[in-house]
Amino acid sequence: MAKTKLSLGYGPKLETVPVELPPGEPRPWDANDQLEVVGEPVPRIDGQLKVSGAARYTHDVALEDMLHAAVLRSPYPCATIKRVEVKAALDQPGVEAAIAVAAVGDKLIFAGQDVAAVAAARPEQARAALASIVVEYAPAPFVVGTRAAMRDGAPLVHETAVEERRTGADEPGAEKATGELSGNIRPGRSQKRGDAKRALNKAALTFEATYETQCHTHSSLETHGVMVRWDSEDAATVWASTQSIFSVRDEFAAIFGLPPAKVRVITHFLGGGFGSKFGANASGTAIAKIAGELARATNKPVKLMLTRHEEHLCTGNRPDSIQTVKLGATATPGAQAKITAIHVQAHGSAGVGTGAGVGRNASAVYTKVPDVLVESADVFTHAGPAVAFRAPGHPQGAFAMESALDELARQLELDPIDLRLAHDGHPVRRWQLELGRERFNWDARRQAAADMRARGTRVRRGVGCAVSIWGDFSGTEARVSVEIDRKGGVVVKNGVQDIGGGIGTIMAQVAAEVLARPVDQIRVEIGDSELGPGVGSGGSKTTASITPAVRNAAEAAKAELAQIAAEALEASSPSKLRWTNEGVSLGRRSLTWAELCERIEGEAIVAVGTRARTYGHYPKSFPGFPTPEIAGAQFAEVEIDTWTGEVRCTELLAVHDCGRVMNEMTVRSQINGGIALGVGYALMEERVMDPSLGVVLNPNLDQYKPCGAKDLPEISIVLTEVLSGNNNTGAYGIGEPATIPTAAAIANAVGDALGVHVRSLPITPAKILDALERGRQTSTEGDT
């Protein structure tokens, strides 16, 4: 360990602090480093391929001789298979193989589960051939509603212990959810500080409310899909629409009993994932197993791309939730009021799968509340399984917790920002709340909202805020190589995939920064397992895991070049050299980049870099992890027509921290995306199940409505940079934090506009009208 002093901090708070660096680690970029390329709004290096339509996504890959697969899915939410015969499908035009995926006696537990599959020359032939597969089902009782599944005597989804399918996108620690199944309910994680139940009993004032959130589907524009080609008996190439190339490799190898090294996985371009695309199979359909078996049976490459309908049924969703929040507070009026206890009891259904956490807002944001208990339980229903979805658990948890805080603030006649400031121990988030208050014109707008309420205007406006918490969960598994050849070419290689955040561009920026080369002179190769171990894009850790490894590789390559240069220029030490875009110099003697690279012995310098474990000095660590806690706060304004219940989010201010900003423009894109997802979650999106048929009623985008261009508010973004020396580039993630508080902030703005809270997402016009009615009733009751 080498000790060094770094200039670290955030905003106005800059300190010189000693930091222990792991062996071989370059000095992390701190406040004294004037970076030329890193942080700049460099346009994406693959932009040209994407705007010209030349980028080939997994959906677009075509191989000679390839076949297309289609899957027959159970129409019943619960049924036992009595007979399954695929033979007749083989006689259909174009069909080359047909397999049963479920066997006689198997119990199917959601509508959409795999039953059988075929491979044919054309996709429409494969789909048509499914009709000739004979299946006899013995349907059984089922339950698809979360509350219904919690009742005594509800049909049981699982009769024995539930098999977990965990992925790298789960919130770290989620695997601890292993309580004992009772009926359809299984207790999961709990977070605990002090004794919340006792504190609630003793509290002078208590508040209790139940909040509900809906089931939300990922709806990545590219559906899940793979193409499998067997290169020999025991070696395969898999093209996969995945956000984690190496998890596809490992799961595919495990399914077919191969050593992972015999499986090559390629994802050159990816049309979104949002947490759902880890592993070779999807959460509710064995796409890789099916494509692999069909490819084996036919000796041809087989492509299996799900339709949008299938994507909605069986590739994951954000579980719904029913959360009862109890708050205890002191009776002291106004700004002196203190929250003494928080107790959250959450149930959520992840269908037949698990993953119904509710984030960490209560326990980890409000560190100044002495007694906290958050209990969550999975409820099983006969519906497609959930899977991690952009900040798993957090938007649900934030909606309930942040709503309850606002409702309590209203009861105490307190400004909700003040109430948050009084209980949040993170200095950066406190700064963000103050910034937002000022930038959003909070006080004036709240006053205007109160005036409209008092006058009972038809159109009301209101403002609300909510906060997010996330951690830097970066991994050390990536191996990045930087090659510099004798012609001066620089190539950066890693097997990471780009989920849309633009990791390739940022890799080029970091290498360009270290080598003092123009960004367009750096070639980046990613999206292929042969390019060296990468990381999965889950947990908002891609940038923070990959960029330090790029820097290390580039520094090592540069050190070799520096040796060559020092010899040529007769420098006493490589540290005396001056590097510029042109090349390297010492006093008046210089070498151009081309002249320098010509002196490389052999074909090229090849250096490999890794990321050290997180170190550094940060304003606050994420509870339970030796890493920075990432802070964020969003402020929303809504406009509501109280006659029709129509609601629009008109403005949104997002104040976030993502460590050192790597690319100002692509960060903004990610934040816009988090907000768009949150607006859809707040106001529009909901997977609807038919309780009598047990099927999804809106399994396509005509009836399941994500946020469109006209639904989006005007967005302003403030990045509160934090330099923490957590790694040598100082990056950490933003993808997930950006979506956590959006729906909660909008809900709070709705509460401000109406004077009553809507306690259920999505906030539809009908719920607005209901809330207004509730408000009218309580005020008449109050009058009498």
């Binding site: 901090g9 905003g11 106005p12 708070k13 800059l14 300190e15 942080g39 709004p41 346009p43 994406r44 932009g47 040209q48 994407k50 705007v51 010209s52 339509g53 080939r56 996504y57 959906h59 075509a62 035009p93 054309r122 996709p123 429409e124 032939q125 709806s219 990545s220 524009l221 590219e222 559906t223 049309g271 979104g272 949008r308 910034l435 989920i499 849309g500 100002e664 692509t666 903004r668 894109s669 990610q670 816009n672 995306g673 988090g674 907000i675 768009a676 997802l677 396509n700 985008l701 005509d702 994500p706 261009a709 006209k710 989006l712 973004i717 403030v718 990045l719 940079e721 934090v722 330099l723």
Partner: protein, 223 residues
């Protein structure tokens, strides 16, 4: 493309329909010259011109090049473009007119290609994302998309470009609202909308100005 549609036993589907002789069955699929359309016509249509499940010839102009193909009546324009004509820049997302990812220009009008049969474009000019550039030279809008980061994963991008290209061709300066109206049928799950609007406005109004994030860096010499 032709052998897969043969029925076992050598009966072609077309032959089958012919023996059925059901004029109603084929009425909706008859190639007609729109100018000569006569709703009162009572005799059965010319069966030789009818489109059944067997591939029939189709000619149109694709990205400036004439195309001749044998296409089944059931094939959508989107399927034809993606599966047979290697236009994979045009994406399939919902396959039912709800997302705009499959958009192409048909005689200059943006259309969801999943909602059109391939035979609907006989004689028309179809432009996909691959036809927006002049050779190697990207269009001003394509360049603006890169410059303004109007794409993340990029899966919605070709549809966004098609909608906005059609809007820009109408000419004149534009407002944010007009651009949002034009791309209202294009879904982007990555939430790139504000940057798409910026890019289109930059081209329409000749604005160079790029949206900024307020970046509050650590102050040197702070406390």
């Amino acid at each position: 493309m032709s052998d897969h549609s043969k029925q076992p036993g050598g009966v072609t589907r077309r032959g089958l329909f012919r023996t059925l002789g059901a004029a109603t069955l084929v009425a909706g699929c008859v190639k007609q010259d729109p100018g000569s359309e006569n709703p009162e016509r009572s005799e059965a249509p010319e069966l030789d011109d009818a489109l059944g499940l067997t591939p029939a010839p189709l000619e149109f102009v694709l990205d400036g090049q004439p195309v001749q193909a044998e296409v089944e009546a059931r094939t959508t324009l989107l399927e034809l473009l993606r599966l047979d004509l290697d236009r994979t820049g045009t994406k399939v997302v919902c396959d039912r007119g709800a997302c705009g990812a499959c958009m192409v220009l048909v005689d200059g009008v943006p259309r969801n290609s999943c909602m059109m049969l391939a035979h609907d474009v006989g004689g028309s000019e179809v432009t996909t994302v691959a036809g927006l550039a002049e050779g190697e030279q990207l269009s001003a809008l394509q360049l603006a998309f890169i410059e303004h980061d109007a794409l993340q994963c990029g899966f919605c991008t070709s549809g966004m470009l098609i909608s906005s290209t059609a809007l820009l061709r109408e000419g004149g300066p534009l407002t944010r609202g007009q651009v949002e109206d034009a791309i209202a049928g294009n879904l982007c799950r990555c939430g790139t909308y504000p940057h798409v609007v910026d890019a289109v406005l930059a081209v329409a109004n000749g604005e160079g100005g790029r949206r900024q994030t307020e970046l509050l860096q650590v102050k040197k010499g702070g406390a």
